[in-house]
Symmetry: C2
Subunit: 247 residues, 2 copies
DNA sequence: ACGCCGATTTGACATAGATCAATATCAGGG
DNA sequence: CCCTGATATTGATCTATGTCAAATCGGCGT
């Protein structure tokens, strides 16, 4: 309740999954045309979140789940003493807010890193609808499960990779996600700062910067500020598989 | 299919949630008596997993979800080069296998750290039943969500805590979970090795050992091998909130 | 009870990455 | 278009934790 979000209802900005180009990536993946129409009723609000604004904050109560229609967000957990841990970066088609279902309270902040358009999906409605449409139910479970799977990957990264591996894995992950969404897998714009990358990867911003420079010196990538180009994707892949010990 | 699990059917070892002392911790939490009886039908198998045995392995296909009735397990992701990252420790009432729903393939190994008794819950049956029983559906979603929330906590730990904080947070977490299950929150048996603790916390076993010794020297805990006693729980709590910089 | 192997502890040393610091660059507002 | 604060790069050091090594402990199987 700290800030009243600007909400645009369905009358003003037409929001329907049937017509959305993301529907194969997003919640309604795999539904029939008739089912899709029902799902359209779920997404009854569309909310623009401007760069730097919060979609929700840690401690706030769960109002809905949020699907990203366009834009880019980060979610971060914050330690009482002010330390921030970025828990993920989210782009179109991603569903956010699932961490709050268990307690009805958000456990992390969600901030837009660029102007973002959000489809708001009330959890109750989703649960009701998914009782009627098994394919939707199944797909929702898959989406939650994939979030768990993603988290396991992050644990692996944070718990047992060296700085270079982490960064290489991060770039490959971004590349793959952009590709899935029809963008270039080799050339993209980093929407987050070095500090945010560092927080996500458990590194300091200087280390991120140095490691990027190092990759560039090796001819693996070309970076200029936030513009990034992957020159040797295979080189990055090799880095990720590397053991840390010299033995 | 590498190993055929030993399976005991419901006829031999009576498995019913209605009578299970864990039902408030486990999936059927919050159901009415009548609903509980339906859920009994879900758990149609009970499987004992002996210490050191696998409940499932990475790459294996999803057969069911698994609720721990008694015992202790770990789940771990393994990197191609052999590095192991422990993703979690699981005790009675915990539900395992949710990471596999998204792809129908397990992404981690689940190994018993002591003889463990498992209730097997076929996902299809759970999904069917939860379409009929909204409270079950809701609770299942909560359970998945809590797993996501837990994972965020682990990311915070791995990404921005120092060794002492990690270990203190780990001990406090165990303490709390034992307490919830009616065991002592101040004195318990560590079922995992120092190496497994280290893997979970992103530390080497020597660091774990040293840090435990350090805690003991400070009078915060008493450890003797796997037997652990928390002497000053407040002291541990203070450690967790500590900022890393000296500034 | 004995012996053995894996687990743990502890010490000495090495190093990846953090910290501190100085400069350079960029993007956004007036 | 210029100014200003945020962001990024790069270098010099420091330190927490990893690595290597050796000694001890403890539990299990025979």
């Amino acid at each position: 309740m700290t800030a009243i979000p600007r909400i645009v209802d369905i009358g003003k900005s037409k929001t329907n999954c049937s017509a959305c180009s993301l529907n194969e990536l997003c919640l309604p993946a795999g539904l029939s045309a008739a089912e899709l129409q029902s799902v359209d009723q779920l997404v009854n609000l569309r909310r623009p979140v401007k760069r730097g604004e919060y979609l929700y904050r840690s401690g706030g109560s769960l109002h809905a789940l949020y699907a990203i229609r366009s834009g880019f967000m980060k979610s971060s957990v914050l330690h009482e003493d002010g330390r921030e841990q970025v828990a993920g970066f989210h782009m179109m088609g991603d569903l956010m807010g699932m961490d709050a279902i268990g307690s009805n309270q958000h456990l992390c902040d969600a901030v837009a890193l660029e102007n973002t358009d959000i489809c708001e999906i009330p959890l109750d409605d989703l649960e009701n609808m998914s009782r009627k449409i098994p394919a939707l139910q199944q797909h929702f479970h898959r989406v939650m499960s994939r979030e768990i799977a993603r988290d396991y990957g992050v644990m692996l990264l944070l718990g047992s990779m060296r700085a270079e591996e982490r960064l290489a894995a991060f770039l490959l992950n971004l590349s793959q996600r952009f590709a899935l969404r029809g963008y270039s897998s080799t050339e993209f714009h980093l929407r987050m700062t070095r500090e945010e990358i560092g927080s996500y990867l458990g590194l300091k911003l200087e280390t991120v910067s140095r490691t990027l420079s190092h990759f560039q010196a090796q001819g693996l990538i070309a970076v200029q500020n936030k513009h990034l180009q992957i020159l040797k994707i295979e080189g990055l892949r090799e880095l990720v598989g590397q053991h840390s010990c010299r033995s």
